[in-house]
C-alpha cells in the first residue's frame, strides 16, 4: 500500500500534515506525537518581525469547535530560522513554513529570507481574518491573490501553497486566481469568521470581537469548498477544516484533496494526526486501494 503523495514535486510519506497555528513548530506536540510519522509539519505563521498578537481572551469554545483570534503572534523570521527550522530538521518529515504579513512587502521579505533555508514548501496565509491591516484580507480579492502569488513566485525557491479563506462569495474564483498567479498548490479552508457573545458578562467572548471558527462544525463547508476548488483548478489541493477522524480526512481526499491537515482536533486529541494516518491505512486496506492518489477526487 502506497501512502506517499506528491505535492508540487515534494514527496510526503503520507498525506497528513497539521493546520498552521494548531501545532506551533512541533516542539510541544513532539512530547505526544512522533513527528517522523507525519507527512509534513506546517508551522504557525511567521512574519518578517515579531508580532505580539491580540488581547486576551483569544479563544472561545463553540458547539462542535472553537473560535480563535490569536492575531498571529509569532517570534519573527530571524528567531524562527535560528530555532524552529533546526528543530524540525531533526525529523524525517517535510517542513512547510506558513508565512504571514500585513502587506505584500512583508510577505516578500519573509519569502526571500526563507529562500535558502532547508525547508520544503511555503504556505502563504492570505486569509487570516484576525489581522486588521485597514483593508480586506488579501485572500478575499481575486486580483490581489493573483498579483501577490506572482510576486512571491518570482523570488521563492520552494513550492508555494496559497492558503485560501472561506470568507468569500465564490471560492473557485480565488483558487483560479492563485493558479493563474503561479501557485504550486492551494490549501483550504482557513477559519470562518464568527462571533460569540458571552451572555453572562454581556460582552464578546474573544477580545477581538470576531474570531475564526474551526473544528468539526465547519467540516461540511470545507468539504464543499474543496470539492468546488478541485473542479476549478489543476494544481494540488490540501484540504482542511474540522478533521477529527480518518473518515473526515477521507471525505476531503475523495472530494479532490491530495493531502489533508489536522487542526483543531490536535487540541482535543494530541495524537489526532496519527489516528488519522492509521485510519486512512485501514480504510485503504478495507476497500483495496493501492495508493492514496487513487482515491483523490473520485467522488464527482
Amino acid at each position: 500500500m502506497d501512502m506517499r503523495v506528491n505535492i508540487a514535486g515534494v514527496e510526503w510519506k503520507n498525506p497528513v500534515t497539521v493546520a498552521s497555528g494548531t501545532f506551533g513548530s512541533g516542539a510541544e506536540y513532539a512530547d505526544f506525537v512522533d513527528l517522523n510519522q507525519l507527512g509534513a509539519v506546517t508551522t504557525k505563521g511567521v512574519a518578517n518581525v515579531p508580532w505580539k498578537g491580540n488581547s486576551t481572551p483569544r479563544v472561545a469554545e463553540v458547539y462542535g469547535g472553537m473560535m480563535n483570534a490569536i492575531g498571529l503572534q509569532n517570534p519573527g523570521i530571524d528567531l524562527f530560522c535560528e530555532r524552529d527550522i533546526p528543530f524540525l530538521k531533526q525529523f524525517d518529515t517535510k517542513i512547510i513554513v506558513n508565512v504571514c504579513g500585513h502587506a505584500p512587502e512583508e510577505y516578500l521579505e519573509v519569502v526571500e529570507r526563507l529562500a535558502d533555508e532547508p525547508i520544503d514548501m511555503m504556505e502563504i496565509n492570505i486569509s487570516c481574518p484576525n489581522v486588521n491591516a485597514g483593508f480586506l484580507a488579501f485572500g478575499q480579492d481575486a486580483h490581489h491573490v493573483e498579483k501577490l502569488t506572482g510576486q512571491i513566485k518570482k523570488i521563492a525557491k520552494q513550492p508555494i501553497i496559497m492558503k485560501l479563506t472561506p470568507n468569500v462569495t465564490d471560492i473557485t474564483e480565488i483558487a483560479k486566481a492563485a493558479e493563474a498567479g503561479g501557485a504550486d498548490a492551494v490549501s483550504l479552508i482557513n477559519t470562518l469568521t464568527g462571533m460569540k457573545i458571552d451572555v453572562n458578562r454581556r460582552t464578546f467572548a474573544v477580545a477581538n470581537k470576531t474570531g475564526g471558527v474551526s473544528g468539526p462544525a465547519v467540516h461540511p463547508i470545507a468539504v464543499r469548498m474543496v470539492y468546488q476548488a478541485a473542479q476549478a483548478v489543476q494544481i494540488p489541493i490540501i484540504g482542511m477544516g474540522g478533521i477529527c477522524t480518518a473518515e473526515d480526512a477521507l471525505e476531503f481526499i475523495l472530494a479532490g484533496a491530495s493531502a489533508v491537515s489536522v487542526g483543531t482536533a490536535n487540541f482535543h486529541n494530541p495524537r489526532a494526526t496519527l489516528d488519522v494516518i492509521e485510519g486512512i491505512e485501514a480504510y485503504m486496506k478495507k476497500y483495496g486501494f493501492e495508493s492514496v492518489k487513487d482515491m483523490v477526487g473520485i467522488v464527482r
Binding site: T22, G24, D31, T56, G64, M66, F267, H268, P270, R271
Partner: protein
C-alpha cells in the same frame, strides 16, 4: 514522546459548597505532579472539544491519585458534566501541565499562602508540601461556605476573609492581612486577577518575593497555540515579544515578571 492523553478513573466525587465539587481521580499524572500544576480534563461530549484546565488540589503519589476541586460554571457546561461523574467512571486527562509553585524557596522563611475563590484549591497541596518558619494561609471566600477550611487548619495558621463578613475578616485577603497585622517575606497566591493585582502591588511596595498563579482561556494547554498569554515585563525568550504562555511558562510567575 513521553506524554499522552489517558483515561483516568474517578475514585470519588462530592459537593463541597454550592457549585464547588471535589473529585479524586486515579491517574499516571499523580506520579510527577507538583503543587500549582494543573491537568487538562476532557468531556466525552463531542460538541465540547477543548480541554478544561483544572488546578491540582491534592496529590497522593503513593496511591497514584489526584484531587481536583473545581467550580461548575453553569448548566450544560463541561464542568457540569464532570460533576456528574461517579466512582468508577472514566475521564480523559492530560497532565500534569505547567510549572507549579517553587515551594522549595520557602525553607526558613515567613510565608503567605493566599487563595481566593476557585484559586483556593491549589493552595492546599502547596500548604502540605511546603516547609517554612511561619506558614500563614490566607484564603478568601464569598460567604460562609468556606470549602477546604478543615484541611487548611491542619496544615498551617489559617486566616479567612469573606466578602459578606460571615466568617473571619469582612472583605478580601488583603483586608485579612491588615486586620491580623500579618507580615511575610515570601508570598504564593492564586485567585482572580483583581486579587492577584492587589497582592502583586503589596508585594512590590514592600519588596516581598511573590509568586502568582494566573488563569486564562486555553485551547491546547501545552504551549503550542498561544491562546493563553499574559503580558511580561521583559521580552520573553520563547515568544520573542512581551508575552508569556500561561499554560507552559506558567501558570506560576514571579510577580515582577508579569503585568496584570
Amino acid at each position: 514522546m513521553e506524554k499522552r492523553k489517558e483515561q483516568a478513573t474517578v475514585m470519588s466525587q462530592e459537593m463541597l459548597a454550592d457549585g464547588i465539587f471535589s473529585m479524586w481521580i486515579r491517574t499516571d499524572a499523580a506520579v510527577t505532579a507538583k503543587p500549582g500544576q494543573f491537568i487538562s480534563m476532557y468531556t466525552t461530549d463531542a460538541s465540547k472539544l477543548l480541554p478544561r484546565p483544572i488546578s491540582i488540589c491534592e496529590i497522593d503519589k503513593e496511591g497514584g491519585c489526584l484531587r481536583v476541586v473545581y467550580r461548575v460554571t453553569g448548566e450544560h457546561t463541561g464542568t457540569e458534566q464532570f460533576s456528574k461523574l461517579k466512582a468508577g467512571d472514566q475521564i480523559p486527562v492530560v497532565g500534569p501541565l505547567g510549572n507549579g509553585f517553587p515551594y522549595e524557596k520557602a525553607e526558613g522563611r515567613k510565608v503567605f499562602l493566599m487563595g481566593g475563590g476557585i484559586g483556593v484549591p491549589p493552595i492546599l497541596e502547596l500548604a502540605k508540601q511546603l516547609t517554612c518558619e511561619k506558614k500563614q494561609i490566607v484564603v478568601g471566600y464569598r460567604d460562609q461556605q468556606t470549602f477546604l477550611k478543615d484541611e487548611f487548619e491542619k496544615n498551617g495558621c489559617l486566616y479567612i476573609s469573606t466578602e459578606d463578613g460571615s466568617v473571619g475578616t469582612k472583605g478580601n485577603v488583603m483586608d485579612a492581612i491588615r486586620e491580623n497585622e500579618l507580615d511575610a517575606d515570601l508570598i504564593y497566591a492564586c485567585g482572580p486577577t483583581p486579587m492577584l493585582r492587589a497582592i502583586k502591588d503589596y508585594a512590590e511596595k514592600n519588596n516581598i518575593e511573590c509568586y502568582i498563579s494566573l488563569e486564562e482561556r486555553m485551547a491546547c494547554g501545552i504551549g503550542a497555540c498561544l491562546a493563553c498569554v499574559c503580558k511580561s515585563k521583559e521580552k520573553d525568550a520563547h515568544s520573542n515579544v512581551n508575552n508569556k504562555r500561561i499554560c507552559k511558562d506558567g501558570p506560576v510567575f514571579l510577580s515582577t515578571e508579569v503585568e496584570l
